[in-house]
Symmetry: C2
Subunit: 307 residues, 2 copies
């Protein structure tokens, strides 16, 4: 499955990391990870993707090859001479859910300051991966009138950098977060009230992910409830959120449309992409996806909602 | 909203109780409760309902009038001279969820032995409310070749009377349970695996309720995912499960059809009825429902799933 070259490219700013993972299904050392990796590989099935991120000189050539094999444009990937790549070690318990962080080594990521290459500043579609909201704001300062800006974040920034997060949220169109984050950010337990409070911070469109219960899309024209893909086995949920965003943004960029109807299909596509991410360690399953696999699973997902 | 007299009646066996409730929205003493009360009033909007249950002589005439005002047939309601009605006292915490039982007085319910009046033994639609599975089995012994038997239960019977429960489950067509109960009964955390394990116990159709996340219908022809009604305020969730079953069974009895397509609409109708039950204490909101209110909410629910 490859993106048509005439499709609008998506610019993604986030992390490229080496993940060491323990899940009930096994463990892996220093595999390809980070929000920008998951996002760019996922979105590459729909649109050309341009990555702005940083790694150290130790970053494996094989992983660069993986990203390039999907057509991911790495001109914006800084490689710091003598630097060490961002590393994360996490463990998932029996029922998956949130990972327990065992170790974080920021390394070159500690002083990451995203620089958008001049030729990408007019990007129509921009995804601000889960990084410091101050950096997300600095990315927005460098782009010119994008058509759609989407943002991801995490509880760490909601509690630790709320002011900066609210400042950047006032400048984005689409905010993708999970139910726990929506409650934390809004102070509302009810998901409908929480989403409205989040919309009031700026984003016209809010997508609340609910894991095995699906996702809710809040749009000025209405609400859409997407079921989850009926997964029987999870191998590794790392990057599922970024891959969800990738399917969603990839669908929008390819359609070059952001109305309610297109966003609904985009949410279903994100749901499907995320389900594949969970079926293998790291990006194993997402790298090898075919159009037919995505279409087949989309049809299965839609059949669940057919009255 | 009233049931057409030509519609197949539904026979329900369960409890009629006096509930004392504390919820974040307030408290009520000795209001109308019990599975057969919630079910019969809910189902009365779709089909004639016949109740088999027991109360004491202290049961308030006003509550008998409430039930009769909905056309509920009480010929099968035993009133034990000098007896005291089943009482339950429960409290819901800030986030609702399961009630904490503060007090249970079984009273006349302790020696309840359901007797199906001769004229109702040919009932086509039968709902076995949440009572001892041995009693549910004795009800089945008294009916002749029903078209559809549905059953509800609770964790208390799953852990305490598993053998009797499995025996009765092998004789029913439709089993309605919540996600926690499905996991408890099957030993499977994954809801798809859990539902299949439950189906393997006998019921051809299994409905797994997931509270604010909606419900899943498992049918030999496929799976259907119903979203929840977007409720902003909950007053009292007592009886929501029985009212869900009432909308579901009421829809089936009125349609006189139990195929997959009809069951999907029945699940949506149950979802809507249950949402009304949560919006008032006891049966307040369900007693006063109009056809227009049900239709309007069904349309709103379906709009959530429209791709």
């Amino acid at each position: 499955m490859t993106a048509n070259a005439t499709v609008n490219p998506i610019l993604v700013v986030g992390s490229v990391a080496l993940d060491s993972l323990e899940t009930p299904a096994g463990h892996r050392e220093e595999c390809l990870g980070g929000s920008a990796s998951y996002f760019s590989v996922g979105a590459s099935h729909f649109a050309p993707t341009h990555v702005v991120a940083v790694v150290g000189e130790d970053f494996p050539q094989a992983y660069l090859d993986h990203l390039r094999s999907r057509g991911v444009n790495l001109e914006g990937l800084e490689i710091i001479p003598g630097g060490r790549t961002f590393r994360w070690r996490g463990r998932y318990g029996e029922h998956f859910g949130d990972a327990q962080t065992l170790e974080t080594q920021l390394n070159v990521f500690e002083h990451f300051s995203p620089k958008i290459p001049a030729q990408w500043r007019g990007a129509k579609y921009l995804f601000l991966g889960n990084i410091d909201p101050e950096l997300q704001g600095r990315v927005l300062d460098q782009v010119e009138n994008p058509h759609l800006v989407a943002l991801d974040t995490m509880n760490f920034w909601i509690t630790g950098k709320r002011h900066a997060l609210e400042a950047v949220l006032s400048r984005v169109d689409l905010f993708i977060l999970n139910e726990t984050e929506a409650r934390l950010l809004s102070g509302e337990r009810n998901v409908y009230k929480a989403a409205e409070a989040v919309q009031a911070l700026g984003p016209r469109v809010v997508v609340v992910k609910r894991g095995e219960y699906g996702a809710l899309l809040f749009h000025p024209d209405g609400v859409f409830a997407a079921p989850a893909v009926p997964l029987r086995e999870v191998i590794d949920p790392t990057g599922a959120g970024d891959t969800f965003a990738a399917g969603l943004m990839g669908f929008l960029a390819r359609a070059d449309e952001t109305d309610f109807a297109t966003l609904k299909r985009a949410v279903l596509t994100g749901t499907v992409l995320a389900s594949f991410a969970c079926e293998g360690f790291s990006l194993d399953r997402v790298l090898s996806l075919t159009t037919a696999e995505v279409e087949e699973r989309l049809a299965r997902l839609e059949s669940l909602m057919k009255v």
